[in-house]
């Protein structure tokens, strides 16, 4: 009897759980099949809202697939499937996500989505995910709802809040609730409390909410909102300062990367190397080639592509530099201005060669996943790729500094540049040192190209965009001094970014150039001038 009872209870439980699920499943399927007949975006949107109203978390993956454009309709029987990829694709059941067959792309039509549809999918999914099992998903859903407040979701948020145990998630939910209240018709007292919560957050989104509330309310509430806006603005102004410094450092590190190779070929060796930009370009194209090879033969290694490209770019550009030094520049020592002409010719040839080999159009260099996205410190957004470039630039700088000061090659290099004949008498093979120095400078330009491929066009014109800035940095910092290049690059970067908000991008750049011209009048040999008799030679 007991056993019987147990079984019966168990069966009952199973059934009671199953029966509504089955029924819900059927009605869900009905709704989903409506996608096949939706003729325009607004009809599709209606179905999405309908699915959202079911409150069933099972529709989340389906909606996500729709947002990514993976929901397709089989032409012959108007059945809806999730299908990813090109060519022959596997069809997944939209609700259970089990494989139920396959079809070619031609047999399917994609259900089109546009921005407003994607928005409503995001909001719907956000509402549904509030009850998700994983706390991070709940938190993400709450943040989405905060950034895209929806008064209709207010009940759902409040239910979720009541059930929430995790304090961090609860806080996010409270923020989302406050945001939703702003747009709702709740009484002013609740809105007033919401203002305080939102003002405490102090981000841009919060400011947006407050401004919107201020615009739509009257009396005390309006004043309270205005006061909160003023407070938020003060904090934001402070953070903005920090943001500008960061932008400046980031621009400075790009300039540093572009200029540091030139600091060797031009700064140390005195070659007015107009082909420097093309060495950067070579580095960027090496990255492209490496990524192409990885894409076709070992897609799993893609995140390592930059790491693989670095040594190759260094070697390729270095070899090109070596060849240029041996083939052309060594005949021109003592005639520095003429190196300008020869390297100018070389730069034309290299540009056209790349144009012929790779075509004149931009080439795609992808970003490894670890370099995508951003994180926030307070209200400062720092993107991973900019941060990586800053770190990378500094690393290159210090490694180079170490190489010049602590290795025997560095010692020989400095000996040769300071007193060639003396160095030669001490048994240093000066021609070889020259060639290796030029190769080093070019190689470093090459690895700069790997980094710059992440933020700029990979095209034959890549180098031209950096050559003038590079010369400015080296000259401003002081020819022949690596520290000068570092300080010069960062100073110009930060100056540029502080001028930009006031003067605009163009005028800001002009002002920086004028500043360099005036600065050179004051210190004719740059920031960190070399002292001694050598400079007069």
């Amino acid at each position: 009897m007991r056993l019987f009872g147990k079984i019966a209870v168990a069966l009952l439980v199973v059934f009671s759980a199953l029966a509504p699920a089955l029924a819900a499943d059927d009605s869900l399927r009905d709704i989903v099949s409506g996608f096949a007949d939706a003729r325009n975006f607004s009809q599709t949107e209606k179905i999405v809202t309908q699915l959202g109203k079911t409150g069933d978390p099972a529709v989340v993956p389906l909606l996500e697939a729709l947002g990514e454009g993976d929901l397709r309709v089989r032409k012959e029987d108007r059945a809806v499937f999730i299908a990813k990829g090109k060519g022959t694709v596997t069809l997944l059941d939209p609700l259970t996500r089990e494989a139920v067959g396959s079809a070619t792309e031609r047999e399917l039509t994609k259900i089109k989505v546009n921005n407003s549809l994607r928005r409503s999918i995001r909001d719907t999914v956000g509402g549904l995910a509030l009850m998700a099992a994983a706390p991070e998903k709940r938190k993400a859903a709450a943040s989405t709802l905060f950034a895209n407040p929806d008064p209709a979701a207010l009940d759902a948020i409040e239910t979720a809040m009541a059930a929430e145990k995790d304090p961090a998630v609860a806080e996010s939910m409270a923020a989302a609730r406050a945001a939703a209240i702003v747009y709702s018709d709740r009484p002013d007292i609740e809105k007033s409390a919401a203002i305080e919560i939102i003002a405490g957050i102090g981000s841009r989104d919060a400011l947006a909410l407050l401004s919107s509330l201020e615009a739509r309310s009257q009396g005390e509430l309006k004043e309270q909102a205005a006061a909160a806006i003023a407070r938020a603005n003060r904090t934001l102004a402070f953070w903005e300062m920090g943001q500008n410094v960061w932008y400046g450092i980031s621009l400075g590190s790009v300039l540093l990367l572009a200029a540091i190779g030139l600091a060797i070929t031009f700064g140390v060796m005195g070659v007015i190397n107009m082909a420097h930009g093309e060495m950067v370009m070579i580095g960027a194209y090496v990255t492209f080639v490496v990524q192409e090879l990885i894409r076709t033969s070992a897609p799993g290694l893609f995140d390592w592509s930059l790491a693989i490209a670095l040594p190759l770019a260094f070697l390729t550009a270095g070899a090109a530099g070596f060849a240029i030094e041996r083939g052309v520049i060594r005949f021109l020592y003592g005639r520095p201005l003429e190196t300008l002409l020869a390297t100018w010719g070389i730069s034309l040839i290299l540009q056209q060669a790349v144009r012929t080999i790779f075509g004149p159009t931009n080439r795609e260099v992808g970003t490894p996943s670890w370099m995508s996205g951003a994180f926030e410190i307070g209200q400062i957004t720092i993107t991973w790729n900019r941060l990586s470039i800053v770190i990378f630039a500094l690393a290159v700088f210090f490694i180079l500094l170490w190489a010049l000061n602590r290795t025997s090659f560095g010692l020989q290099m400095r000996a040769v540049t300071q007193n060639r004949r003396m160095a030669a008498s001490m048994g240093i093979r000066t021609p070889m040192v020259d060639a290796m120095t030029f190769a080093l400078g070019s190689g470093i330009a090459g690895i700069a190209g790997v980094a710059l491929s992440q933020i700029d066009n990979v095209s034959p014109n890549l180098g031209q965009g950096y050559i003038i800035d590079s010369f400015m940095v080296v000259v401003f910092g002081g020819v022949g001094n690596l520290w000068g290049t570092l300080v010069g690059a960062l100073t110009l970067g930060i100056a540029n970014k502080f001028l930009e908000p006031y003067a605009g991008a163009v005028l800001g750049k002009i002002l920086v150039l004028v500043f360099i011209i005036l600065f050179i009048q004051k210190r004719p040999r740059g920031l960190f001038a070399l002292k001694g008799r050598a400079v007069e030679a």
């Binding site: 010719g345 031209q464 163009v506 009048q521």
Partner: protein, 389 residues
């Protein structure tokens, strides 16, 4: 009278021959274009006339650079700026000459101002409807810029690559400034759609021929001025500054003043070249300020032979003729040819084409002299010191 003045003031026969050739071109080319029918084998097509006219202005630009670089050792990577400023001054005059014939029919405002909704002419455009004023500005603006720039730079003893780079910064900054539409110089499109100059239709064959002649005359004048400066005792000072600035200073001269004079004169010449260039190509835009253009001028000068008067002219003509031909004949490969040319000339003709030829001629005549001396020595049974230098 004139020839006596020139001879007595020490213009070498070689320079005079050059001037004569240029002036002859000024007369003969337009004559061949205008007087002969198109079917005649010696007829010079109009297309060639404006092309050669353009080359001549480039030659004057290269010559002006040679004055500061070849003779005074100041490598300016910003000479294109002076050229472009002269060009803009001329362009503004030509724009004002359009009058109500613009597309919007506004009698005062150039078209680009009309569609940017400008209501009145900016103050710096006033006066440019008068040719004399424009002509004054053509020399005054580049001259003044060079004077101010040089005044600061040379007094601060900015030399060598530092000077080169700040001249580059100057032209780059000007380029960015002129790109700005708010500056009132037509932004990226620059000034274009000119109708007439001094009352002559700018598209008429006679006007083109006249402009070619004017360019040739300007070039001839440039040659005379350069020759007079470099041939005088002041020219010796220029070379002294070029070869040993400190020593010149210690001898009591003021190198900064010498440089300033050369730089300003040169800028004025470049400005005149720019002014003649604009009506012949029909457009002036900020692209002319591009640092690459200025570097190209350096390349012409170097290829022709710096430190000579004929060299930059030959270089400018050769490189540009080559460019015109290559871009038509080998559109895909011409940069290889041009780039290769730069490398080869720098490697094998370090003094440029003219410089190398002169060297060959000089060593040949030296050998001749030496032989003659040998012969004399045999005759007179005594050694001759000729050729010791």
């Amino acid at each position: 009278m004139i020839s006596r003045y020139l001879f007595e003031n020490g213009l070498s026969p070689r320079i005079l021959a050059l001037v004569a050739v240029i002036l002859a071109a000024a007369i003969i080319l337009p004559a061949l274009n205008l007087a002969l029918p198109e079917s005649h084998p010696l007829h010079v097509p109009t297309y060639m006339i404006s092309l050669i006219g353009k080359y001549l202005t480039y030659a004057l630009l290269a010559l002006s650079l040679d004055l500061v670089w070849g003779f005074c050792g100041i490598l300016s990577l910003g000479h294109g700026a002076f050229f472009a400023l002269g060009g803009y001054a001329m362009g503004m005059y030509l724009m004002r000459q359009i009058g109500p014939r613009g597309v919007y029919g506004n009698p005062l405002l150039p078209d680009f101002m009309v569609f940017l909704n400008w209501k009145e002419l900016p103050w710096y455009w006033s006066g440019f409807d008068q040719f004399w004023f424009a002509a004054l500005m053509i020399v005054a603006v580049p001259g003044a810029l060079a004077f101010v720039f040089g005044w600061f730079a040379f007094r601060s003893r900015v030399t060598g690559v530092y000077l080169s780079i700040i001249t580059q910064a100057m032209t780059f900054a000007l380029m960015l400034a002129f790109f700005r539409n708010d500056m009132g110089f037509g932004g990226n499109n620059g000034l274009t759609d000119f109708k007439d100059i001094l009352g002559f239709d700018i598209q008429a064959d006679t006007t083109r021929a006249g402009l070619l002649a004017a360019s040739a005359v300007a070039l001839a004048l440039g040659v005379i001025v350069t020759a007079r400066i470099t041939g005088s005792s002041f020219g010796k000072l220029l070379i002294a500054v070029r070869d040993a600035e400190s020593r010149t200073r210690f001898l009591g001269y003021r190198p900064e003043m010498v440089k300033l004079f050369a730089f300003t004169t040169s800028a004025v010449m470049a400005g005149v070249a720019g002014a003649l260039y604009v009506p012949q190509v029909g457009i002036i835009n900020p692209g002319e300020f591009a640092p690459a253009n200025s570097i190209e001028v350096v390349v012409w000068t170097a290829i022709g032979g710096r430190g000579t008067i004929i060299g930059p002219i030959v270089g400018a003509l050769l490189v540009n003729a080559g460019k015109s031909w290559f871009t038509g004949a080998l559109p895909e490969l011409w940069l290889f040819a041009l780039g290769g040319l730069f490398v080869l000339v720098t490697l094998f003709l370090p003094k440029g084409i003219v410089g190398t030829l002169q060297e060959i001629a000089a060593s040949a005549s030296e050998r001749r002299k030496a032989r003659k001396a040998d012969a004399e020595a045999v005759d007179g049974e005594q050694a001759s010191p000729v050729g010791a230098e």
